[in-house]
């Protein structure tokens, strides 16, 4: 009996392993088994995700505040002032005010760039179990979203639309290890490739052998044909460290992103590229500084 039970388990194991390998092989061969099912799952779960997002975003914010507890005192003072101001005007919660400011900045960026955008809220973040950096947003094909559209936030580039259902879309974030895009160093014609590395640091490989990467260089999206998947001119990041290696053919540098991918709540999907390349016009300009020159007046010689 035990042998029979063991044989049955082995047979079942072989059957399940073969089934799994068969499914993987079909998927790798291009037979899209899961596409429509995943789309249906996304459609069914999108109201649930939106509801959970509204209910539990304070928990996420609380966890984030625990991590930044050292900066809490200054923030508490700022908030108290803001509370007094809001109480004198209207009652709006801090979350709504923050989101309104974020939306205003996103629309300002889109307007200056000439991008036609659809604003969206982030309703879910990809699970760490998939080893992919993704977010789910609350707009889909019913709002005109399709695959390979650029997604931006108030800081700059966020990612690209990976898959779309009727009411939600999954966005591949730019810090995903499989993410690569063409970028240009602002103020120059030097182009390179920016790669995500899974964290908050990105790798820039300059393709131009005559160009030079300098610390503090700003990067903008080079743009793709028809603006898909990347529209030109979107701020991407800033060079924070240049890796010099005389034996290397390409110049490499470490980059930090313009957009804060850890705490994004609102994004915009670029549904229509601009008529003209905005070039470097979307790079935030540094605040002008005032320089005062002082010429010391000569000391009069003492008279005898």
């Amino acid at each position: 009996m035990a042998r029979g039970g063991g044989n049955r388990s082995r047979l079942l194991l072989v059957l399940l392993l073969v089934s799994s390998l068969f499914l993987i092989t079909l998927d790798l061969r291009g037979v899209n088994l899961a596409g429509s099912i995943r789309g249906s799952v996304a459609t069914v779960f999108s109201p649930v995700e939106t509801l959970f997002s509204r209910l539990f975003s304070p928990i996420g914010n609380f966890a984030g505040d625990i991590r930044n507890i050292g900066q809490a005192n200054e923030k508490i003072d700022d908030l108290n002032k803001e509370i007094q101001l809001l109480k004198s005007k209207e009652i709006l919660d801090e979350d709504t005010v923050g989101q309104l400011n974020q939306l205003k900045n996103i629309l300002d960026l889109a307007g200056r760039g000439g991008y036609k955008v659809v604003a969206a809220k982030v309703i879910n973040r990809g699970s760490s179990a998939t080893f992919k950096e993704t977010i789910t947003i609350d707009v889909g094909s019913s709002s005109g979203i399709s695959r390979n559209m650029t997604v931006i936030s108030d800081g700059g580039l966020v990612g690209v639309v990976k898959s779309v259902s009727s009411d939600t879309s999954v966005v591949l974030l730019m810090n995903d290890p499989s993410f690569k895009m063409g970028v240009r160093i602002a103020g120059t014609q030097s182009i390179g490739v920016l790669s995500g590395q899974g964290g908050n640091s990105y790798l820039l490989q300059l393709l131009d052998t005559t160009g030079e990467i300098k610390l503090g260089d700003k990067l903008v999206a080079r743009g793709s044909d028809g603006g898909r998947p990347f529209v030109p001119g979107v701020p991407v990041g800033t060079v924070v460290e240049v890796q010099s290696n005389s034996s290397s053919i390409t110049q490499n540098a470490d980059v930090t992103a313009s957009a804060n991918l850890d705490r994004i709540a609102l994004v915009a999907v670029v549904v229509s590229p601009p008529k003209f390349d905005p070039r470097d016009s979307l790079i935030p300009k540094p605040n002008p500084t005032v320089t005062v020159y002082v010429t010391p007046s000569p000391t009069p010689a003492p008279s005898n």
């Binding site: 194991l13 399940l16 499914l23 779960f45 209910l55 966890a63 179990a129 080893f131 290890p177 899974g198």
Partner: protein
């Protein structure tokens, strides 16, 4: 809800931890079947970019490992701390198997250090958070599968 929380390093997968609990409490055949079905459900995730069937393969392998080690696993419900440690280790091992299979299939899953830190963070958070949910999961499983066991 779990994905809304911005965990340091990274989060943890509540689903994988729950599946490990279920697999450890099942009999030989149940471990295999629940592992396969649980993996298929993970493959249906909208954020999954891996080939359909990869998680089914991983969880079938995990179910098999539970099957062949059933006697040595024993009944962990009387030793909850050991059970939590075992579930955390099993979750980490399933993620490691996933990464290895992904590498064999030629996927870009990221650098070694990033993956190790993700798996390590997942283990730590599973150790810390699963004690809160373990009694509930065991009770729900007992309530749902009582008629079958009878």
């Amino acid at each position: 809800m779990v994905s809304r929380i911005n965990f340091p390093i990274n989060g943890f997968s509540f689903y994988i931890a729950t599946l490990m609990v279920v697999l450890s409490l099942e009999d030989r055949t149940g471990s295999l079947v629940f592992g396969f079905i649980g993996g298929l459900i993970m493959d249906l995730s909208t954020t999954a970019d891996t080939p359909f069937g990869q998680w089914a393969l991983v969880m079938t392998i995990m179910g098999y490992l539970f099957t062949i080690n059933k006697e040595s696993i024993g009944d962990y419900t009387d030793a909850p701390i050991a059970f939590i440690g075992f579930v955390s280790f099993a979750s980490a091992f399933s993620l490691l198997v996933f990464v290895i299979i992904g590498t064999l299939l030629g996927q870009q899953i990221g650098g070694i250090f990033r993956n190790i830190s993700l798996i390590f963070a997942n283990t730590i958070w599973t150790l810390l958070i699963m004690p809160l949910f373990l009694p509930l999961i065991i009770r729900v499983r007992k309530a749902l599968l009582t008629s079958r066991e009878k």
